[in-house]
């Protein structure tokens, strides 16, 4: 990674860390994690399942919100405020700027997810008094959540490279929602025939398959997650992100700044 990309990534990370909105989201996520043991006591016998479901869902939802709302403003805010001018007047390629921004936000979410995951394990320890081997299985679900964030940041960045912040938020959120039902859409494509099937099939492959990245319920019930799925999801997320970020860089490199 070039020193310029590193510098842009670090500055993006620093901006997110100093952004109060980010702290609020993290605060609420941590609060949910802290509430989990209390809820677990209400439903005797299913504390651990409930704790995992609630905590990982909180990590996923709040991380997604951070990814969308910070992701869409990564480029548009810099253009609106013209902070981009002194950057692009330097020997910085526009593609480097996009990639740097991507890594910066990805790093931010990595740190946040790490902090929230630490909170989750602390809650598990407080509730059960120990951390077992099955708890390590939860790390796979957290890893998939991180992959989901990588995809969402890529999409937010892609939309942000050519549209306003509001439209980017709308597009990114719509794709996030649609992506969680990608599996259902593929099932629907197989159950119908003709143009409907093609349309559903094409759409299901264009939208991100976030359903495949959601294994929260499975790890909560100690179900086995295969190495193949881990490999497939990793490759899928990296490829999807690569295409989205490349598209963002391509569009942005041709864009006239206002």
């Amino acid at each position: 990674m070039s020193s310029r990309i590193r510098a842009i990534a670090f500055n993006t990370f620093r901006e997110a860390v100093r952004d109060r909105v980010l702290y609020n989201l993290v605060f609420f996520a941590l609060l949910l994690v802290a509430l989990a043991p209390l809820l677990g006591q209400i439903s005797a016998g299913v504390q651990r399942v409930l704790l995992i479901n609630l905590s990982l869902s909180a990590i996923s939802i709040f991380g997604t919100l951070i990814a969308i709302f910070l992701g869409i403003s990564l480029v548009s805010k810099e253009i609106e405020r013209r902070t981009l001018y002194p950057v692009l007047a330097r020997p910085v390629a526009r593609g480097e700027f996009i990639v740097g921004k991507y890594f910066g936000l990805a790093g931010t979410l990595l740190v946040n997810t790490g902090a929230m995951s630490a909170g989750f394990y602390l809650a598990v320890f407080l509730m059960t008094g120990r951390l077992g081997r099955s708890d390590a299985n939860v790390l796979i679900a957290i890893y998939f959540i991180l992959l989901q964030f990588l995809v969402i940041i890529g999409l937010a960045l892609l939309f942000s490279s050519f549209s306003s912040a509001m439209l980017s938020a709308l597009f990114a959120f719509s794709l996030f929602v649609a992506g969680t039902f990608a599996g259902d859409l593929r099932g629907f494509a197989q159950s119908v025939h003709g143009p409907q099937s093609w349309l559903a099939s094409i759409t299901s492959y264009v939208i991100p398959n976030l359903a495949s990245l959601n294994v929260i319920t499975r790890v909560a019930h100690d179900q086995f997650i295969s190495a193949e799925l881990v490999g497939y999801n990793t490759l899928y997320a990296l490829l999807y992100t690569g295409v989205a970020v490349s598209g963002a860089a391509l569009i942005f490199s041709r864009r006239n700044l206002k």
Binding site: S3, R4, A7, I8, N11, R14, E15, R18, D19, R81, R82, T83, L84, Y85, P86, V87, L88, A89, R90, P91, V92, A93, R254, N256, L257
Partner: protein, 310 residues
């Protein structure tokens, strides 16, 4: 070799969503900026000054034309590392301190960590922000931000500095500071290309100026020549009122302030006027050629009516 060579640079914008129309931002612009000079880019608001600078900085793309900076394609990374740019009304990352901001920009410009450590405190000292080095920019006044802007434009020791309206919105003290800073940069051998609509700043700083109006270059001139242009008229100042009717008869425009009279007249009739004043024993205080001003040149190029001051 010119420092900046603009060759037919053009920019047309397409506006409207359903009924698209073309709006000309810059008509084919060709001009040269010489190494080591302070070049003023003058024009009223909306003349195309910022468009030209944005084109040169690669922020927008030209419809036609090209440019060379330091004899290289203006878009090359080599060129980018040798030029500095202060945008109009700059806005920087307000969550950073000046030190952090300069460190960031320095890294992007390829300045080594050792050089950054050395240069940043010196530069902040030079622009009078040493004491605010660790204060977030959100607490800065407009004048202070402008100084940060100038610091970031010169941090990597560029050969050419482009400044877009550097004195805009500043109070007289701030303007004076920026003006002094530009002069000191020029003394160090840097070429300065700056846009402004404040003519007094251009007159005080520039070696040459170009006038732009409605996206079109209207003229380029050497400031020293423009302000010493003679219009074949002189101003005569004397004490006493008795010679006034005779001076008016010679075609002079006369003004009287107490006992002191002044007349603007054709240089060809000066000898007659002086003889008449001597004959009436009037005390001649001064005789001066009426020179042109940058303002006159500017208005002339804009196609406005120019009245020679008298």
């Amino acid at each position: 070799m010119p420092a900046v060579e603009i060759l037919g640079l053009e920019k047309t914008y397409t506006v409207g969503f359903w009924r698209k129309t073309e709006k000309i931002g810059l008509k084919s612009l060709t001009l040269e900026v010489h190494p080591g000079e302070v070049f003023g880019f003058l024009g009223p608001n909306g003349a195309g000054k910022t468009t030209t600078l944005k084109l040169l900085m690669g922020l927008i793309f030209p419809t036609a034309g090209t440019a060379r900076i330091l004899d290289q394609d203006w878009r090359s990374p080599w060129v980018r590392s040798r030029i500095g740019f202060l945008p109009e009304q700059p806005y920087f990352y307000d969550y950073l301190t000046p030190s952090e901001l300069l460190d960031y920009y320095g890294t992007l410009s390829g300045v080594s960590a050792a050089d950054r450590r050395l240069r940043i405190p010196k530069l902040l000292e030079r622009v009078g922000l040493a004491e605010q080095a660790r204060v977030q920019l959100r607490k800065f006044s407009k004048g202070m931000l402008q100084r940060v802007g100038i610091a970031q434009a010169v941090l990597h020791e560029p050969e050419i500095v482009f400044l877009d309206e550097p004195m805009s919105g500043l109070d007289p003290v701030g303007r004076r500071e920026v003006r002094d800073f530009i002069q000191s940069l020029n003394r160090e051998g840097k070429t300065i290309f700056f846009s402004t609509h404040i003519l007094s700043d251009a007159e005080a700083l520039c070696d040459r100026v170009a006038v732009l109006h409605r996206g079109e270059l209207r003229g380029v001139g050497v400031v020293a020549e423009l302000v010493s242009r003679k219009h074949g008229r002189v101003e005569v100042v004397w004490q006493g009122t008795s010679a006034l009717p005779m001076m008016k008869a010679l075609g002079a425009e006369c003004h009287l302030a107490g006992e002191v009279a002044r007349a603007a007249m054709d240089e060809a009739r000066l000898e007659e006027a002086l003889a008449a004043l001597r004959a009436r024993q009037a005390r001649v205080i001064s005789v001066n050629p009426i020179g042109g001003s940058l303002e006159e040149y500017f208005l002339e190029k804009l196609g406005e009516t120019v009245e020679v001051r008298s």
